[in-house]
Symmetry: C2
Subunit: 194 residues, 2 copies
DNA sequence: ACCTGAACACCGTTCAAGT
DNA sequence: ACCTGAACACCGTTCAAGT
């Protein structure tokens, strides 16, 4: 006779994500997660092999959430018609997501994440909503190369911002807009040149 | 009568840095550090307030090491005469440093670092060796803004590379060179325009 | 001033037993 | 199948005592 489930994988992942954001990656214990979902600590291990495995699932949930934000920021048709505007909007949405989930964002780029095939797929799919914009901006053959200029800038900027690396003052919002514009207009010149 | 010191702060920091690189941020214990320097675990706490404080010191040592690499990659006079070449060389040195110290590099941008005044100073000084290049490239008034385009790209690129974010194949070395060139030549157009 | 052994509280994880 | 209490090994940290 099975014991009645008191919680679910999804509820545990949500509770962990909330604790992560509130307390930081090592600011909470399995016991606190268990408390949050009304269960005793060992029960978590019948659903997740380890704390690390649970954090991996949280990370995938965050990548999926980022994907949704990017989709909401610009539709494919807008990206095709006005790639500069569309990609700028997605860039701002990307930064907003990182600033709204700083501890989660750090987890998403933590090199300790286990490299499962499913994980790689979810991570890879997260930036897919931007691809039509790159294709429209520089053409199909250069879209990947263009993505590998803009996305490192986006990640690097927000990562540095979150780790307080911009200490020389000056408007950080303005610096972000300047950088975004500079890179996008630079990519625009790729249309013709090799 | 003082007990003879068996080790030193510097030796402990070096041993911790080695363990960090070999085993990852939470792959080693205070006991292993103590073993490595020939001391018992509690002795470490008479020198460093906590594991976190010791990791902070390791982080500062890494920033200082990065600074030395950047200084070695291009002299101020070369940066002034040939800013494109000089900054490219520093960009490559930056990436090489990150790839040679992947776990250390992750620590340098870990948002958990304590924000001491000394720490901020050391971190801030690390990229100073690049400044003459930015001044030569775009002029004094735009140097900071230019740095806030290139350095996020550098950090973002190597951070994504280290967390295996470039899964769509294609030469990653070539992508780095392409991005570096695109951004530097884009910045070059700032010389005249506002 | 720096070292040590002993102790403490906490934590991730396992396991046998319950339903 | 999922839950639980009890137990285990390990870890960061404290402390009183040694020199």
């Amino acid at each position: 006779m099975p014991a009645r489930p008191k919680t679910s994988d999804a509820e545990i992942i949500d509770a962990t994500r909330a604790l992560l954001e509130a307390q930081g990656r090592d600011g909470f214990s399995m016991a606190e997660i268990a408390d949050a979902v009304g269960v005793r600590t060992p029960s978590l291990f019948s659903r997740f092999a380890s704390r690390a495995a649970l954090l991996d699932r949280v990370e995938l949930a965050l990548w999926a959430a980022l994907r949704r934000e990017l989709e909401a920021a610009a539709t494919p048709s807008r990206l095709i018609k006005k790639p500069l505007e569309g990609l700028s909007a997605q860039g701002r949405a990307y930064r907003a997501f990182a600033k709204a989930n700083p501890n989660g964002y750090a987890l998403m780029f933590d090199p300790r994440a286990s490299q499962t095939a499913e994980g790689a797929a979810v991570r890879g799919a997260a930036l897919a909503p931007c691809l039509p914009g790159f294709v429209a901006l520089v053409g199909e053959d250069k879209a990947l190369a263009a993505a590998r200029v803009l996305t490192p800038f986006l990640h690097g900027f927000v990562s540095m911002e979150l780790s307080q690396a911009f200490r020389l003052g000056g408007g950080i919002d303005a610096a972000f807009e300047t950088g975004l514009d500079a890179i996008l207009s630079g990519l625009l010149t790729w249309r013709r040149s090799p």
